[in-house]
Amino acid sequence: MSSRRPDPEAEALAERWVGLYGDLALRTAYLFLRDRGLAEDCVQDAFVSAWRARSSLRDPGAERAWLMTIVANTARSHLRRRIPIPTDTIPADPTAHDPFSELALSADLRQALDQLPADQRDVIVMRVYLDLSVEETARALKVAEGTVKSRLSRALEALRLIWIPTTD
């Protein structure tokens, strides 16, 4: 009995996806979920979903945006599915909640990002971190392009009040 050998083309594609986009997907998922373990789960789910639907990607040049959109939407879906923990059962421990603690960010920027409403943070991840176009962001978040622009503008306005970039 012989075990099935994977298709070399598929193997090369899997290698390329994981090698080229794996870390970016992890970081993107982390920005949404703020938890390394959840981010890894999200990457796994998103990549498998994308893999199964890979024939729907028509423009190879849009591969990065397509894959990151799937990662972002998977992360947002994970967030929606998460069972809320009643806050009145959580002991008050100010050190327990440290948003984006794995990032080498200044405390004020971490705080600023944490305080942004989720819809504005989503736009920051897509437009600012992933550098997707307004059109790609709008398609990914299923909102109008004008909404992307206004959310980004409001998010930047809020960040500007708290965070002052340190220029070299």
């Binding site: 998460r82 069972i83 009145d88």
Partner: protein, 234 residues
């Protein structure tokens, strides 16, 4: 440069710099690659997208498909005598106090007032000793229950958790019980806070004192399943 563009650029650089060290572990990479190769591509998608007509008019085709599905779902609902506008369905699950001598927690089946849908609870009864745990799975059968219907059980609604003495007729001792609500199903909204637990002292996954609690589960559509897991801890 526009101040917003400048801030966008600086923020992007800062985020990319701060996450440069965050990488997938090598074992995770190997595992992920293996999972991809083991996951079959959805063939009908490839087959469908290989049609030139489908490729050219994907948007229009998707609209037609969505419209057809919507019509198939909405028209029967709209013509139903019980149809009501709603954003979700609620039902109550009942776990009445145990009968004498048993260590039982009952989950009573509940019915929709319209009679069109039934909620069955499985198992209907579980015997619990301290440290043991029972999970009741509530599932819907039937259809066309108005979405706003509150499905009520046959008796006073409530989740009662009681310590049952080893032998009746000893008086009931103090009880601590943990309970956890779990939602499963593709359309549930457990993460968005639509499920609530209310009643004296009721807290999700918190220690409960003896008493009667009402657990209301809300699901956005049918075919969702809910389960209540109860552990008697003392």
């Amino acid at each position: 440069m526009d101040p917003d563009d400048r801030l966008t650029e600086e923020l992007g650089e800062e985020l990319r710099r701060s996450m440069a060290e965050m990488r997938l572990h090598p074992e995770f990479r190997a595992d992920l690659k293996g999972r991809l190769l083991a996951a079959p591509e959805i063939r009908w998608r490839r087959w469908l997208s290989s049609w030139p007509a489908v490729a050219r008019h994907r948007g229009a085709l998707a609209t037609v498909v969505v419209a057809a599905i919507a019509a198939a779902v909405v028209i029967p609902l709209a013509t139903s005598p019980h149809s009501q506008l709603s954003t979700g369905r609620s039902y109550l699950v009942i776990v009445p106090p145990a009968v004498s001598g048993g260590h039982a927690a009952d989950a009573a089946p509940a019915i929709c007032p319209s009679g069109n849908v039934q909620l069955s609870v499985s198992p209907a009864q579980a015997a619990l000793a301290p440290g043991q745990r029972a999970t009741f799975v509530v599932s819907e059968t039937g259809s066309s229950c108005p979405l706003t219907a509150t499905v009520r059980g046959p008796s006073a609604a409530g989740l009662s958790i009681m310590a049952i003495p080893q032998r009746s007729p000893e008086p009931l001792g103090p009880a601590n019980a943990m309970y956890q609500l779990l939602w499963t199903g593709r359309t549930t909204t457990s993460g968005s806070g639509s499920g609530t637990a209310s009643g004296a002292g009721a807290k999700g996954a918190a220690e409960l004192s003896p008493g009667t609690y009402t657990v209301t589960l809300s699901v956005p559509s049918s075919r969702a399943r809910a389960s209540i897991s109860i552990t008697i801890s003392s």
